[in-house]
Symmetry: C2
Subunit: 255 residues, 2 copies
């Protein structure tokens, strides 16, 4: 049984520069694309979405990256959970079965690193044809009290632990772009050495390290046999085309 | 460091016979009693609340006790999470720090029994002075797909795993009542043998086995050195009196 882990960036489903403003139309469109594919296919899907304008403003206001703040942790979690509820509701309305898995309830960090992630309930959801929907969240940390855990950092953990077949990272850019704004169709460890300096950053305000960091992380997964694609989830139909295995965006692979 | 696990029954904080109707006044009052005590005391507190008119109607409609239903599981979870959000918000508004822990995200069952419960994040919350707030929920089950896990069944698991000092079970009755409606002040294994037949059932529609079952379960914890009290959380000040160690309701102990 193949497992696809699909990331949808916060910049796709929320309004940049706002506080807690969702792009309901995009959420519905993407949910429809996922639900249609799921009806056609036996593939298991995990959806991980970013927080975007939900959570990030609260995390910044309470400086969660600088130290523990229980009120800030609470308000950040409430905000990202609200976005998650919209996504899960939209998937269920579109005819898919989806259930939320909140990292604050299921994950533990130590000095910012994941040291425990409850996966048993995710496995049962997948077996039952349900899409577990995770998200960037504030998570308890044995060293720091609490830390922000981005969706981008959840994905490699889940991909390795659950032996994902493929990862799709849907952002608001068409893929990894070179210095002339052309999509780089394929990146391997070998080709990355030369092209690294010419890669453009992500268009969105990405607190998690930009495009170069993202590619480096996905190349590590490629070493473990899990290939990824970075594509534009903001364009209609591209999530669907990714799910059906088409050659969209940038492929990151070990071959 | 002493750990108190406080259960507030769904019958206290929701309207019986309604669908998803909270008793906001009771939630605020109880939150105030908990927050005042927490300011005074170093004791760690876990709050577990029932679902009452949140979740139960959905669980019944979709017959979650008879078989797996992903839509029913989703709607039940959404409903209990809404009640949980009200409780957690109310505690934070009252000046306590509280964070939700959702069993669907953190727990796994096998044939209705808890086989895995993520506790690391709960421990960090407790160390940081935060009240983790759990609730009756629909939970993934390796055998059944999904099952309803009541708050009453979460408590013994947490009490043993986290070495609780005391348990308080706040319901809508004054304690365990005898055939003359008088409160039985103390129950031990020894006294329970004789009084068992004279114990009155819980006033609320309790899907989890009524008062006799509750006492039997708490006596098992008493054997492990964890005493409990069953008291009326619907009466003003009684939660507070329990937290401060007063002799309220019925004590269930091994001594």
């Amino acid at each position: 049984m193949s497992l696809i882990i699909l990331k949808i960036g916060g910049s796709v489903i929320t309004e940049k520069g706002s506080i807690s403003k969702a792009r309901e139309t995009e959420i519905e469109r993407i949910s429809g694309e996922i639900a249609s594919f799921k009806k056609d296919s036996d593939s298991q899907i995990i959806l991980v979405h970013g927080a975007g304008s939900f959570g990030h403003p609260q995390a910044m206001k309470y400086k969660l990256d600088e130290g523990f703040d229980p009120k800030g942790a609470y308000l950040t979690h409430v905000s990202v959970k609200l976005l998650n509820s919209k996504v899960v509701e939209s998937l269920n309305n579109a005819g898919a079965y989806a259930l939320p898995v909140h990292p604050l309830s299921s994950c533990l960090l130590e000095n910012g690193n994941i040291i425990d992630f409850q996966l048993g309930q995710i496995k049962v959801m997948l077996e039952k044809g349900i899409i577990p929907v995770l998200h960037g969240d504030v998570v308890m940390d044995r060293t720091k009290g609490a830390s922000v855990l981005s969706g981008d950092r959840i994905i490699p953990h889940l991909a390795v632990a659950l032996k994902a077949s493929q990862i799709g990272a849907g952002s608001d850019v068409d893929g990894v772009l070179d210095e002339k704004d052309a999509i780089i169709r394929k990146i391997t460890h070998f080709s990355f050495v030369d092209m690294k300096k010419n890669i453009k950053g992500s268009g969105s305000t990405d607190v998690t390290g930009g495009m170069r960091g993202k590619v480096s992380e996905l190349l590590e997964l490629a070493d473990k046999g899990i290939s990824s694609r970075i594509f534009n989830a903001y364009r209609k139909g591209v999530v669907s085309r990714f799910l059906y295995g088409e050659d969209v965006g940038t492929l990151i692979t070990d071959k």
